[in-house]
């Protein structure tokens, strides 16, 4: 018994904070992924006036979305066509948002609101930067979907509302779609690859 208690105490005193991930811009620069949030329709379950979708998608980490309803708070991303999505990046910062920082997030995909299935659930412990969420299906390939829903199920310190500063969604750049002109590594090849 005591050992179990000890173990519990041990766990509580040393929570593993979620480490911040790399800046997604670097991901973009590798040319392997592309941000496709602009091709989607974004909607929120609730928001405070002046703290809505625009602030969530404005590339500015100072502005944020603040929800204004009951949990779970939802961010819905709907594409015009079935899109391959590889990674979801969320920026969360415990130091600035404290009790508004999400702690449990569920990512669901599907065709429409009635058809969503959870594919990822993540626990955040005092995050302090970008969180990369790979969206892969059972076969470890990027998911193809019409809609993604990000649900904030719980916040730190049991806060009711949540702040979310930025969300980015990435699709893999299809090499083969450049049509039999696969990605070359050297400039010599790339120079002759296309006419611009």
């Amino acid at each position: 018994m005591e050992s179990i208690k000890e173990m519990n105490i041990f766990k509580m005193t040393t929570p593993n904070k979620t480490p911040p991930g790399a800046d997604p811009k670097q991901l973009e620069r590798t040319g392997t992924v592309r941000e496709i949030g602009s091709q989607a329709v974004w909607s929120l379950s609730s928001c405070k006036p002046g703290f809505g979708v625009d602030q969530l998608r404005d590339d500015n980490l100072e502005t944020y979305w603040q929800s204004d309803g009951s949990q779970p708070h939802l961010v819905n991303i709907q594409f015009r066509r079935k899109t391959t999505v590889k990674t979801l990046c969320i920026y969360a910062d415990y130091k600035s948002d404290e009790s508004y920082t999400p702690s449990k997030i569920s990512v669901r995909v599907g065709n429409n609101f009635h058809n969503l299935q959870e594919i990822r659930q993540l626990e955040l412990v005092e995050p302090s930067g970008w969180i990369h969420v790979p969206l892969t299906d059972n076969h470890k390939k990027p998911t193809r979907t019409f809609m993604i829903q990000i649900a904030v199920l719980a916040n730190h310190q049991n806060g009711r509302d949540t702040h979310m500063r930025q969300i980015k969604i990435y699709t893999p750049v299809e090499e083969s779609s450049i049509g039999k002109f696969p990605r070359c590594t050297t400039i010599d090849f790339m120079m002759y690859r296309s006419i611009r």
Partner: protein
Amino acid sequence: MTVLQEPVQAAIWQALNHYAYRDAVFLAERLYAEVHSEEALFLLATCYYRSGKAYKAYRLLKGHSCTTPQCKYLLAKCCVDLSKLAEGEQILSGGVFNKQKSHDDIVTEFGDSACFTLSLLGHVYCKTDRLAKGSECYQKSLSLNPFLWSPFESLCEIGEKPDPDQTFKLTSIQNFSNCLPNSCTTLVSNHSLSHRQPETVLTETPQDTIELNRLNLESSNSKYSLNTDSSYIDSAVISPDTVPLGTGTSILSKQVQNKPKTGRSLLGGPAALSPLTPSFGILPLETPSPGDGSYLQNYTNTPSVIDVPSTGAPTKKSVARIGQTGTKSVFSQSGNSREVTPILVAQTQSSGPQTSTTPQVLSPTITSPPNALPRRSSRLFTSDSSTTKENSKKLKMKFPPKIPNRKTKSKTNKGGITQPNINDSLEITKLDSSIISEGKISTFTPQIQAFNLQKAAAEGLMSLLREMGKGYLALCSYNCKEAINILSHLPSHHYNTGWVLCQIGRAYFELSEYMQAERIFSEVRRIENYRVEGMEIYSTTLWHLQKDVALSVLSKDLTDMDKNSPEAWCAAGNCFSLQREHDIAIKFFQRAIQVDPNYAYAYTLLGHEFVLTEELDKALACFRNAIRVNPRHYNAWYGLGMIYYKQEKFSLAEMHFQKALDINPQSSVLLCHIGVVQHALKKSEKALDTLNKAIVIDPKNPLCKFHRASVLFANEKYKSALQELEELKQIVPKESLVYFLIGKVYKKLGQTHLALMNFSWAMDLDPKGANNQIKEAIDKRYLPDDEEPITQEEQIMGTDESQESSMTDADDTQLHAAESDEF
């Protein structure tokens, strides 16, 4: 025009010549309010147009009747600037619905400005898709005035092949005189005429000095002048005695004296007319003419000299009117008796009622002492060819006095002007004087000499234009090697100018020799950092070479310098595109389009960005727009082909690539793409032929060889594929694709050890890329019966994110994966 208006007019022209548009506009408005004549209207409209407010000129002229040719021309120009092409056309030629005027009608109506009118009309026709008519107009315009470059350029761009030799030549004296507004050139051989002209000039303009000065200052006005008196004598001289308005002249004289004596243009013609164009052949005023001092022929540069007839300065060398006795006139430069000359271009103002006859005289003035040989400002002809340079061969004058002429030609097309090379003039004058003193010239009468000299200068310009024309024509037909060759043989002081170097840079660009192109363009930036035309090609070159720092410097500089030029925004867009920030690049390309909706390249670049962001519909629209603006923009045809290729509509793709190839037959990249498409259409033989052709055209293109190898591989010709790939390995040793394909070939040949080696090299060179391709290969191989091995592979692949996984595992995976015979 009454006497009352002339001082005001003179003041207005003076203000215009000094770019003091507010003053000019104000005075012109007052003049117009006072006298509602068409001439005043034209003057006011000109002031508005020159101050950059074409819409004001347009509305003003529309609101009143314009019957004079110059008003009509200006109105048409405003219409075209404001994109009201139909209206412009109607004004110039009667429009679509009325009876159209023939070119001859236009020529008679507009007289000396017919060449510009026809050029404008040609532009309208070309923009409204009537290329045949447009080209006719351009041809006619060129035949009327071979000094015009832009019709020639437009002809080349629409795909016609005008012959530079035929176009740029002075066919007859008549022609010569027509081109130059005050025909400062035509020398009338008979004295009577010469006598007459100045007199008429004198009599008509009591205040001609002012006019003179004004006219001198105002060179561009010359365009509109001269209808009737086309054959003027060069040096019409206005005697200072006739200067009535002392104040005016004194002011002007001061001005004149203060003018920098940079040089005098021999050619009073168009070159000298505009204050901007340095004349062809320049004689610096300061240099005392060595040798004979008795004669002095100075051709003043318009802006620099307007010699005010110094009132009561008979001691100064008088400028003799050609064929005239020396008693008249003296326009001498203050102080220096040698220097004389205001080049006065006699010119009558407008046609019609108001021949205010402000004679604008721009002509080489010849010194009065009749015996004195005009010291031919042979300086004219030569800037640095006192020694016989190879160029001089081209530019030798045809007639006996073999004065080595190296005419400093004004830069064509872009109006950049090379500064007269003053140092050379000294040499030349020395040389010339020596030649002259040989006495050969003495046999000629001054006027014929002057005329010959002018003609020689013009000939020099013509021969330069011929060469440049050939080069430009070759470039527009995408005969790039030829173009480079021709343009490289231009004389070095013309070679080292922005326009020529930009054309050469573009030729290298079209040949896909991006390193060379970059070198040339950086030279352009060094010598002419104000040049924006052609910089979009430079930015694309840097994009191809992936030189992001240089590209970002270029785009910053250009956008700082000129926010209204589409080229600057294209460069900025290219910069962000290289950084893979496609949204921002799209924004900048859209800005370029806003700035100039008739700029085809901006549409093309925007289309490419949309392709990269997978918005193919928008991309299609952009490429189509580019083609609408310029049907010969082969990049846009290529873009369309690429989109169809991505959508797997291979025959459409082939068709579009073929169209692009028809325009630009020497592009190995295009041939390469066609080859690949043909292979996709299963026409492998043809594909190989095409790729062979591509390799012949450009042996340095590694992608052609690569695709040839992959086609051979697909056709199971493994040995030849290997051979090809081995060669390619030598050329581009660091390309992972090459090793990957070699690996696949070896696999097919059963040499697994070599295959593994090559795959591992490929992975080393590009871990992520290899993974992608292998994954793809796996995807393609996802068949139900092969489940087991595949899931195994996938497992391995899933854990194998870095090269650290055991080589054997990875290799096994690759081996299995590389079964696909497609690439």
